[in-house]
Symmetry: C2
């Protein structure tokens, strides 16, 4: 391995002073005699000591780094293009502000405690968290870390005081179902997302807003994956063979549903019209037929999350300075952003 | 945003002691009177102070976290399945050892200085780095951070003292070309990878080992992407229309080459036999026809990188302890691992 880096202790020994004195000089603190400070700085030079950001951060609390936590196993992060797209927006925005994107990957929920330790450990200025599930411990763990945090997607049903960026899931779902109804479809099924996520619950609510009396046999549970969409579509065709439309809670589920419809000889859109949600490239354009879907600007939402977090950090900094000067405090600012959705018509409905 | 976390300074003020005393108590140091230590711990409790890992790490140098740096733009990390596969191996191994995987994403080379600051900043115990290019500043930046590092792929031509994990690129390439020759092919072309990466150079060397007198017109430059493979294949067909085989430096390039061959009416393998490199799922199995390729176990290589790094960290720790006790030092251990490759025959050759 590499040569060990000179430690603060080594500098202290070399300069013949205490660790605390070295720490104070290195961190730009005051109250050290200039002759002592000079000795310390000479030792720093001679040993090639790199002051540890960890040490400086005790004073400055600025790491120029932001953690991103996706509450899904690492394998899903790399197979669902939604995450790549959201990360792209975050990465662009953080890079523009010269802040390092630190992606904390997990294998499963057992790893959240370790993520919490890292977040509380003084390695990042804040956290961006997405794909949280309602029974996840993660939001509690993150709250205990006391780190400024912005969520992607509303974290829970009454998370009013938690800053987040979300799209208008319920309104978008209503538009999808109204569109299917406008095509004269009368038996409109819904493949849900995982109902432990608010985005899936909101899209189901939107479906119910338009079709409050829909037959429960027209509902099947999916999980936002193509395999889940296939399973749900088979279930629906078994239970309600006369269905003439499907609103799937995301594009990946819709892609799975389309494969099953094709396999079972149902023509899309003639026999069954299909609408998805997300408008993810390349999924929505490459399905057969290309997918009518509800567009949300996932990359822009990533950018907004990063911006909201960094704006909050700056405000916190100004408030701290302001309190020290005795200034009046600023208001809390906008801490929830809901972005619009839009129906994109292609061949499937 | 969230409430500010109580600082070390606040604890010091509350306990009526110096910052240095609080720091010493919190970090488990000695030399503090027990009555003072009690006062500090009471203040810690009353304020709900969470000791900063940054502070503790000055003493312990253990963050239970490992950085991964991929020297490619964030967009490529999420579109080339090679990286997802290598990260999967790393993630599994680090999780098993309860170490946090910290993926540092970049947009481009301008971001390496910032990555260097994070690596030198005392946030991780070591770094795993892959996809380095020969003219990248990254290895120098990482060397200056003095952080224990293991590379994925040989970092440069004479990087003998740098621990790395690589596959037998040259031997694998020889096997691919020998296989094409054994099929009676006489005009075997090669689509290279980006020649600023050692893996691409080694595969080209393997091709030349078997065909030292090959016509230079049978060589075309690719860049490990499908689009690069398409461009190179068009070039080859223009220049050497009589070619009867192609060894592509990776599966993604081979997939691009297959599309062009199909488009131009060349039958694979009857007219042109094609061999790739990597055996990446789902690429190699889903090409048309399925791809004969040289398999490297990318996930296992990720695991080996993580293991090599953590074993090195443990050894460094034992040596430090040993030096303090005056023990003899251990040898350097194995710091380079080269994994075997194997030809996987499918329909394309």
């Amino acid at each position: 391995m590499t040569a060990p880096r000179p430690t603060l202790e080594a500098v202290a020994a070399h300069a013949g002073v205490s660790r605390a004195t070295v720490s104070r000089v290195v961190n730009g603190g005051t109250g050290v005699r200039s002759s002592l400070a000079e000795r310390v700085l000479r030792a720093v030079d001679e040993l090639g000591y790199v002051p540890n950001q960890a040490a400086r951060s005790l004073v400055t609390r600025r790491h120029d780094a932001v953690a991103v936590v996706i509450a899904e196993p690492e394998t899903r992060v790399f197979t669902d293009p939604f995450f790549a797209r959201q990360l792209r927006g975050i990465s662009k925005e953080l890079t523009a502000l010269d802040s390092q994107l630190v992606l904390l990957l997990v294998e499963g929920r057992n790893d959240y405690a370790r993520v919490g330790r890292y977040l509380a450990g003084g390695h990042v200025d804040g956290a961006l968290v997405f794909s949280v599930h309602l029974d996840d411990e993660l939001p509690d763990i993150i709250r205990r870390s006391a780190l400024p945090t912005v969520y992607g997607g509303r974290p829970d049903r009454d998370g009013e005081h938690t800053p987040y960026v979300d799209c208008d899931n319920r309104g978008g779902a209503r538009e999808a179902v109204r569109h299917l109804r406008s095509l004269g479809r009368e038996r409109i099924a819904h493949i849900t997302g995982p109902l432990d996520q608010t985005s899936a619950v909101d899209r189901l609510d939107g479906y119910r807003d338009v079709l409050p009396d829909a037959d429960p046999a027209l509902l099947a549970h999916g999980d936002f994956t193509p395999a889940g969409g296939e399973r749900a579509m088979r279930e629906l065709l078994d239970r309600s063979p006369q269905l003439d439309a499907v609103f799937a809670a995301n594009d990946l589920s819709a892609a799975g549903a389309l494969r099953v419809l094709h396999e079972q000889g149902r023509r899309v859109p003639e026999d069954v019209a299909v609408v998805g949600f997300d408008d993810l490239e390349p999924v929505a354009e490459q399905t057969s037929p290309p997918l009518t879907t509800v567009r949300q600007d996932v990359e822009e939402m990533g950018r907004l999350m990063a911006r909201l977090l960094l704006r909050g950090l700056e405000r916190d900094g100004r408030e701290r300075d302001g309190r020290e000067r005795g200034d009046a405090q600023e208001g809390p600012g906008e801490s929830v952003v809901v972005t619009p959705t839009a129906l994109v018509r292609r061949a499937s409905a």
